[in-house]
Symmetry: C2
Subunit: 482 residues, 2 copies
């Protein structure tokens, strides 16, 4: 059967990043057991280590959603064709990439159903039923679920047919409130990316070409990967009354008139895991930001057969766990210390602690921090607090490194040549006329797309469009994107 006993030498065999970044990514996510390919076209299995990261992202995001007044719900995964077709732009955007259910049991369905690619239409159908008066507003709901888009080419976490995400859907009394909600959720994403995932991002508004199917305005946060490409890491949409008109979501206003609600939606997905890998990873493998690392500290007993070593290591693990640190004691005696060092480095555990007879004698543990590979010792007395400070510093260091990289790779272009040059290895900040023709031309020339327009529109590189030379209207970031 070709089964091999796994007690073998540790060989990481990661493709060097400089040689082939894309292959490096695939190597890392497979070899660190984040994910595996499923025996279903374009789908992935999220393994415990990858799902552990997702659970921590969920926990952090979900708390922020609840604190800002949102409640979780669950809507069906199947959408009748007629419902999907109610909003014209929306169906045009999604119909080409949905999976169709045509048969239930032995019965051929009278009306085909799609597996949700997103749930605006179902939320709208229910909101139309639920809302009566201004007193019922706002309704601010969110769901954690999976969605399915029949993608042609797929890569785990970045683009798969099925993926995990959250989708928030809210309805409001006024346009102002809806816009406030749209921007609030974008800010929650940005803040969470910074403070939880150690990801610096560009936030701003998408162009009309790149906005969501059916939205009046789409805002995004864009992260820069180590190959200089953009990863759209979260979006927030203001629909205005667009869907409300298609679905007749009306309410009795304070003045007793029937009015349409103002609607938003917003989402982040397991793409964020891909963003973490491609932002922080290095030649040894993952470097996980401590706040979403399923294991924050791994304890490796050295010479664990010697009396007292394992007991002390277990006591240390228990102490750290009680202090709220996610700790793992690796007491496997079937692997060498060197093997374990390599494995945990590849898996990106932020801190490795070694504890041997001499450490115990000296009342210390030897640590290595994964971000900088620096080593040192920590007194066992009060070690939990010291580790928390260290984890915090690792988070800040990862963020700073990513932010420096991002700044170094963000170019300013006045001419088309400069733009063409700049998007080869990073983002380009440029003045733009606002016309789709220029976006199309830039895409054709460079494969780069418009990413978003920052809220602060000051400091345009020139007064004319980087592409056509007509008067510039917007400051726009361009980049190749995942």
């Amino acid at each position: 059967m070709g089964k091999k006993d796994k007690q073998q030498e540790f060989v990481a065999h990661l493709t060097p990043r400089e040689e082939d970044f894309s292959q490096w990514y695939t190597d890392v996510i497979l070899k660190t057991d984040l994910v595996d390919y499923a025996p279903v076209r374009g789908c992935m299995v999220v393994k415990p280590y990858g799902y552990g990261i997702w659970e921590l992202i969920q926990e952090e995001m979900d708390r922020r959603f609840k604190e800002s007044g949102h409640k979780n719900v669950y809507f069906p995964m199947l959408i009748p064709e007629s419902l999907l077709r109610k909003e014209a732009e929306h169906v045009e955007g999604f119909a080409p990439e949905v999976a169709w259910v045509t048969q239930g049991g032995s019965e051929v369905l009278q009306e085909k159903l799609v597996i949700r690619p997103t749930s605006e239409t179902l939320f709208c159908a229910m909101y139309a039923k639920w809302v009566q008066s201004w007193r019922d507003l706002p309704m601010k709901y969110n769901q954690w679920c999976s969605v399915l888009r029949w993608e042609k080419s797929t890569r785990p976490f970045l683009r798969t047919s099925e993926f995990l995400w959250q989708e928030g859907h809210t309805i409001h009394e006024t346009a102002e409130e809806a816009q406030e909600e749209t921007l609030q959720m974008l800010e929650i994403y940005r803040e969470c990316a910074e403070n939880v995932l150690a990801l610096p991002t560009f936030v701003g508004q998408k162009s009309d070409k790149e906005k969501f199917a059916g939205a009046r305005a789409t805002y995004s946060m864009e992260a820069m990967m180590q190959d200089g490409k953009a990863l759209q890491a979260g979006t927030s949409h203001n629909f205005g009354t667009n869907f409300a008109e298609a679905f007749q979501i009306q309410f009795l206003s304070r003045e007793g008139k029937l009015e349409y609600v103002h609607e938003t939606s917003w989402g982040v997905s397991t793409r964020l895991i891909g963003a973490i890998v491609m932002t922080h990873g290095d030649e040894r493998g993952l470097r996980l930001p401590p706040r979403v690392a399923p294991i924050q500290v791994v304890i490796l007993p050295i010479a664990q057969h010697k009396e007292g070593v394992l007991d002390r290591a277990r006591a240390l693990a228990a102490e750290l766990k009680a202090a709220g640190i996610r700790v793992e004691l690796d007491d496997r005696d079937t692997y060498s210390a060197g093997w374990k060092f390599n494995e945990w480095e590849m898996k990106g555990v932020p801190v490795r602690l070694e504890l041997g007879p001499r450490d115990i004698e000296n009342g210390v543990a030897t640590f290595m921090r994964r971000d900088t590979l620096e080593k040192g010792t920590l007194p066992l007395d009060g070690i939990a607090d010291a580790l928390k400070a260290l984890l915090n510093d690792i988070h800040l260091t990862l963020y700073r490194q990513a932010d420096e990289f991002r700044k170094a790779r963000t170019h300013t272009a006045v001419t088309l040549d400069e733009l063409v040059q700049g998007v080869q290895d990073g983002f380009v900040k440029a003045s733009w006329c606002g016309e789709r023709e220029c976006e199309d031309k830039i895409k054709e020339l460079t494969n780069a797309t418009s990413r978003n327009m920052p809220f602060d529109q000051s400091g345009m590189p020139s007064e004319t469009c980087v592409c056509c030379g007509k008067p510039a209207k917007k400051l726009m970031y361009f980049a190749k994107a995942y």
Copy 2:
């Protein structure tokens, strides 16, 4: 548009339980905003109040799963037809009730896919790839997701085409370990039902007729609803090497031989919410067990326009929240106190606290406990601890009431007449020959089915089968079931 302003008198209009238990159930779940019908055949929308209960159930269960060494994963929702067909009994059991995806985008699929009705086949396919040696065992994974079964007649929470659940799938080195796992998970379900949901249950083994498609043995916990019918509230299956042989899940044993793994699976679903409603509810609506009540204490300020009342109520809400109590302050001034009393009673909030000018003067709050409708006062000083004790007592009281009901409605039958009589309003404990013919005959006569065989098989009512009179082999519970 027929929109009505909601500021109107509170009218609950619950159908009396004695008149029509089934209609009472539907009234309660819809009017308390647990759930709504979706515009998709046989599917439901779980609304915030219902989903809040599910989140608390998840939290309690998930902690127990992790403490017993299980890890969460996520597998695709689509299963290729060929994979579903690999285990003969399994496909026979599930094929009639699956939804078929036959088209992706504009492409007609070469191989049809089913939306998972359960995920044994996918887990088996991945386990076959992942396991090499005994060192890789056990693998103990779980996923929280939705599954879809094309049901003919549906009722929210009890039986819907799509429903939320968790499915654990584990593989082990030995038969003993797999059996231990199967029983351990059943015990976790039973303990959680008792200590979290206040649900007494019968646990035991299912008959061959009633076991899961492809299992060697299925164990269940069965709860008794207020109409005396059984609700299967959780199952745990031991597959032996059945799926392992079909999927060739082999490992190198300690002796260096290729062996098949021993496999289990186990699950609970949103049915548990239906069980809570139908076990604890009364003529006024829900009575939620405190440990899964999204709101444990509701504070109603009385004469809230009077100076100091609202401020004191807000301070009280903040104090309770800080103490870890799930509290809501209902300061809506558009509803009367009487309206609010009725609404919160119907929604089953365990404790109502009233706080008016006189209460504040006396340094107390007036409480009503939803389980017994008893009222009293609590000193504001130290109220958080007093409320915790009260919530605990409410949990115990709900459990005791349900347990007394269960005992009173569990009958012993020696003759078939007694069994026919007994299943009209409850469970029947009887001796059984172990033959399917007798199960079929009892079903035909009474519509009751065999529920499960308790682990303690002592105290058989007679030495002969309740149905055929041949020598009895098993003590079995029979009941009509949801």
